[in-house]
């Protein structure tokens, strides 16, 4: 089968509706008799709820109900937990972990600012919000936990008394003789790096609509989620209904980035309220709610140490990692273990010792966001590698060149398991080659020469490098059902959900090729539990590989059925049947060309005859993906830093990357651009700021700065292709990668620019006041004043 569409930059099929304003997002859904929900949220980081008085609120105009925990108690089961330790991992890494599921509404205690205390239903959103302000809550403030390390101390107040302390998760992983390697090393560097809280911040906030159908005893809910089947499972557990009685639909979703792959209280509260009120209910999150009530991310501290020989050969890495989990440990090992598994990345390091602790604090829960533990760990690693380069007096590119794995090293096994419990084996790639490609494309040597010239003129230009190797496309599966209609057009249903990645195009490209039909004949349905019973969802750069492989295989099986029917109809051997462009023909007999519709019609029985074959042109495949496939990239940032104002100007940003075989190059390019933009935000602008009372100070887009077109240069890309041997089409995941390296590359570039001042960058975001502070600190240490 030749690939007509796979690998082609076909224009996206979903675009015309978005461009015409005809998309359908959650907030666009309107149902007769619909009520609007508003939530009363805790203004305290930690408080006992002594009393709630809702009488005044209930008397407000338009108000139908005010619900507290007690009113909805029968449905208030703990929200789903993720990140259990799989057996293969448990066998090799001893993980101590404690998880308690969040209740959708506070029963007696609020554990972070923004946690839901009460819910108001009214005839309009404005009236519901008015009434919410009249709900009186007596809070008795409790001790807060605002700092991850302080929260782990033995004398810290304990958030969950049954645990005895706040350490929800701890483990140690590694290999080799780290002590010995550090003893024998000729160079050792140690530093503490802080990765702040920054978040996905989709432009569409979250939203849920729910409708209870008393006739069928069935619930339909529209939810701007990346994971319809997870939402369904949570509702099954809480509502006690059979899965097929709960239909979860993700309509058009305005960006997800992992933020919408989390399980949320509102996923349950809005459906529960619709059942209790016997009326449809809509809730649309506002931006302030989003900042306090939608998952936060990152928030790690690394005490990292590296040992090397004078020639730069890396000998060992030791890291002590703190993960600030926020108020609930909903994600188990996911973020902490991702962090550990991705620490070494492209480097050949024979000895590793990592200790990781996840600690609960009284802040918004931490959940995966584009990169999910990888941007944090890459920040620590690539910063310490640059520190080592300074220590050795070596160019940071040369130090990397001497330690990166090359194509000849593949497959390469790291002596710790992956998060899924399987061996951590890089399947394909050439990390040194990727580095060289990036350096060539960016003109590294010329940049260094220019930097030296500019320094003499008082212009502080810096060049920063960061690379990662990313386990993508985590399994265990995503399914697909492919079905033809009477015209030979195909419907492809999958559990993967789209938030702008172009599934309706990429998946159609795979199906059209495998079926031998025009692209326009394929309709892709994702994000609907009624379309396919089992699914995982879209996150972790997983959909192209997991869903794409299933679509490819299921389409092949449907084609086999078509071939069998066509062989019967055209009285030819199946091996001689060809299908292309929606026509069936017998090899070497172009006159035999028959439309697919005629073959399907011939399979449907009539009064005059039976069908030539069973009219079953449908197949379902759940492709099993036991472990990940490894994408890799090198990023280079070029900045100018104004030592007078502290302003950092990002001049160039280049990415060389391998994501295996590419379905649609322009979509991949767009994914990289978008990921880099979010990473640049993390490097320069974005932070969720808490004060010592664990009070969230970030509430608007004036506080939380998302990059605009003025902060971002045109992103340059170099595409390398090392197909994965782990799936039939050789693909790797690319959704997250762009976001992983920018904070590290930018921090390295800023420190490089300010090298004459002896500045050391240990955290982001690098806003002007932070950069000025770094210059002051360096001057105080005896460096050159700015």
């Amino acid at each position: 089968m030749g690939a007509k569409y796979f690998g082609a930059s076909v224009k996206r099929r979903e675009d015309p509706r978005y461009l015409r304003g005809e998309g359908r997002f959650v907030d666009d859904i309107k149902l007769p008799g619909m009520l609007h929900a508003a939530f009363v949220r805790s203004p305290y980081a930690h408080a006992r709820i002594a009393a709630i008085r809702a009488d005044a609120a209930k008397r407000m105009p338009g108000v139908a109900h005010v619900f507290t925990f007690a009113d909805l108690e029968r449905w208030m089961k703990p929200l789903p937990l993720f990140g259990a330790v799989p057996p293969g991992l448990a066998a090799r890494v001893q993980v101590t972990m404690r998880q308690i599921g969040q209740l959708a509404m506070c029963r007696a205690e609020a554990r972070h600012v923004g946690e839901i205390v009460a819910m108001v239903l009214a005839t309009s959103r404005a009236l519901a919000e008015d009434a919410g302000e009249r709900v009186e809550v007596d809070y008795e403030p409790l001790p807060v936990l605002s700092d991850v390390e302080a929260a782990a101390r033995p004398d810290a107040p304990v958030l969950y008394p049954e645990w005895g302390d706040n350490v929800a998760l701890s483990f140690r992983a590694g290999f080799g003789d780290v002590e010995g390697a550090f003893r024998r090393a000729e160079a050792r560097v140690r530093e503490r790096f802080v990765i702040p809280r920054y978040v996905g911040m989709p432009i569409e906030t979250r939203g849920v609509v729910a409708q209870w159908d008393p006739r069928d005893g069935a619930l339909t809910t529209w939810n701007g989620t990346q994971v319809v089947h997870f939402v369904q499972q949570g509702l099954v557990a809480a509502l006690g209904l059979a899965p097929h009685k709960i239909r979860v639909i993700a309509p058009d979703v305005g960006g997800g980035f992992g933020t919408k792959a989390n399980g949320y209280p509102e996923d349950l509260l809005v459906p529960a309220a619709a059942i209790a009120a016997r009326r449809p209910v809509k809730w649309i999150e506002d931006r302030r709610e989003h900042m306090m009530g939608s998952a936060h991310a990152r928030a790690q501290v690394h005490d990292i140490e590296i040992a090397a020989r004078r020639d730069g050969t890396m000998l060992a890495v030791r890291d002590r990692i703190w993960v600030d989990l926020g108020a609930y440990n909903s994600w188990g090992i996911v973020l902490p273990y991702n962090t550990v598994a991705h620490l070494l990345g492209p480097h050949r390091v024979p000895n590793l010792d990592v200790e990781c602790r996840g600690v609960v604090t009284t802040k918004t829960p931490n959940a995966p966001y584009r990169g999910a533990g990888r941007p944090e760990t890459v920040f620590a690693m690539d910063r310490i590698v640059d520190c080592l380069a300074v220590e050795l007096g070596m160019d940071p590119a040369e130090l990397r060149r001497r330690n990166y794995l090359g194509e000849a090293d593949m497959p390469y096994e790291l002596q710790i398991p992956y998060r899924d419990g399987n061996p951590l084996v890089y399947d394909s790639g050439d990390f040194r080659g990727g580095l060289e490609a990036a350096l060539r494309a960016v003109g590294y040597d010329a940049l260094r020469a220019e930097q030296a010239r500019l320094r003499e003129q008082g212009i502080h230009r810096g060049i920063g490098i960061s690379s990662y190797v990313e386990g993508t496309a985590i399994g265990p599966y995503e399914g697909a059902t492919v079905r033809l209609d009477a015209s030979g057009h195909a419907v492809v249903a999958t559990g993967a959900c789209c938030q702008g990645q172009g599934h309706e195009t990429s998946f159609a490209q795979i199906a059209a090729d495998a079926l031998g039909i025009p692209l326009e004949w394929v309709t892709v349905v994702g994000g609907d539990t009624a379309a396919i019973p089992f699914g995982v969802g879209t996150f972790a750069s997983r959909s192209a590989v997991n869903a794409g492989s299933s679509i490819h295989e299921a389409s092949g099986r449907v084609k086999d059925k078509l071939v069998a029917a066509a062989a019967a109809l055209l009285e030819a051997a199946p091996a001689d049947i060809e299908i292309a462009d929606g026509l069936v023909s017998v090899r070497g007999a172009p006159a035999s060309a028959t439309p697919l519709a005629a073959v399907i019609r011939a399979a449907i029985p009539t009064f005059a005859r039976p069908g030539v074959a069973a009219p079953d042109f449908e197949a379902t495949v759940y492709h099993h993906q036991p472990t990940v496939t490894y994408t890799s990239a090198t990023h280079v940032a070029v900045v100018d830093v104004d030592a007078g104002t502290g302003a950092v100007k990002l001049l160039r940003y280049l990415v060389s990357h391998d994501c295996g075989k590419v379905i649609n190059p322009v979509i991949v390019e767009g994914q990289i651009h978008g990921g880099v933009a979010q990473g640049v935000g993390g490097g320069l602008l974005e932070e969720m700021v808490y004060d010592e009372q664990a009070q969230l100070l970030t509430g608007t887009f004036m506080d939380y700065l998302v990059p605009t077109a003025m902060e971002l240069p045109a992103i340059e890309t170099v595409h390398l292709e090392y197909p994965s041997p782990r799936n039939p089409l050789g693909m790797k995941g690319i959704g997250e990668g762009g976001a992983i390296s920018p904070p590290a590359a930018i921090a390295n570039a800023v420190e490089d620019a300010l090298r004459p001042f002896g500045v050391r960058v240990t955290r982001t975001p690098l806003g002007p006041s932070v950069v000025l502070g770094l210059l002051e600190q360096a001057a105080a240490r005896g460096g050159r004043p700015a």
Binding site: R287, G500, H673, F701, M702, L712
Partner: protein
Amino acid sequence: MTRTIRVTVNGREHERTVEVRATLAEFLREDLDLTGTHVGCEHGVCGTCTVLLDGEPVRACLMLAVQADGGHVDTIEGLAPAEGLHPIQEAFWAKHGLQCGYCTPGIIMSTRAFLRERPEPSREEIREMLSGHLCRCTGYHFIVEAIEEAARAVAGGRRSS
């Protein structure tokens, strides 16, 4: 409290009684079912809700519906012909200038006003105009290219017509 307003939206006049505190965005979305205008922040930063009032871009979340009384509003729904796309929309499609499509209508409406004022914009001018909008998916580069393409197409259309 309510007030009756008369607003021409996409060339059609509407007389409606609205809550005086209702925003223009709510009026368009809830009263007229024109859900192509999206709301991103409700505090005037993200630009998602941008529509044209008497030809000028405005944040529909920061404006009250009653302030539009007597005005002419253009939304994304009024841009394209019944079939097909407006040249600006075509350019965004051709250049992959959108991903999730949520911020897209606002950016397209700003682009429409911008290209009237600056038919041959430089890249820097395009980026400056775009800085009034937040897009979280694209990194903006393909949007910049789309607007360059749109400028060419709109200018070409003007010459040929």
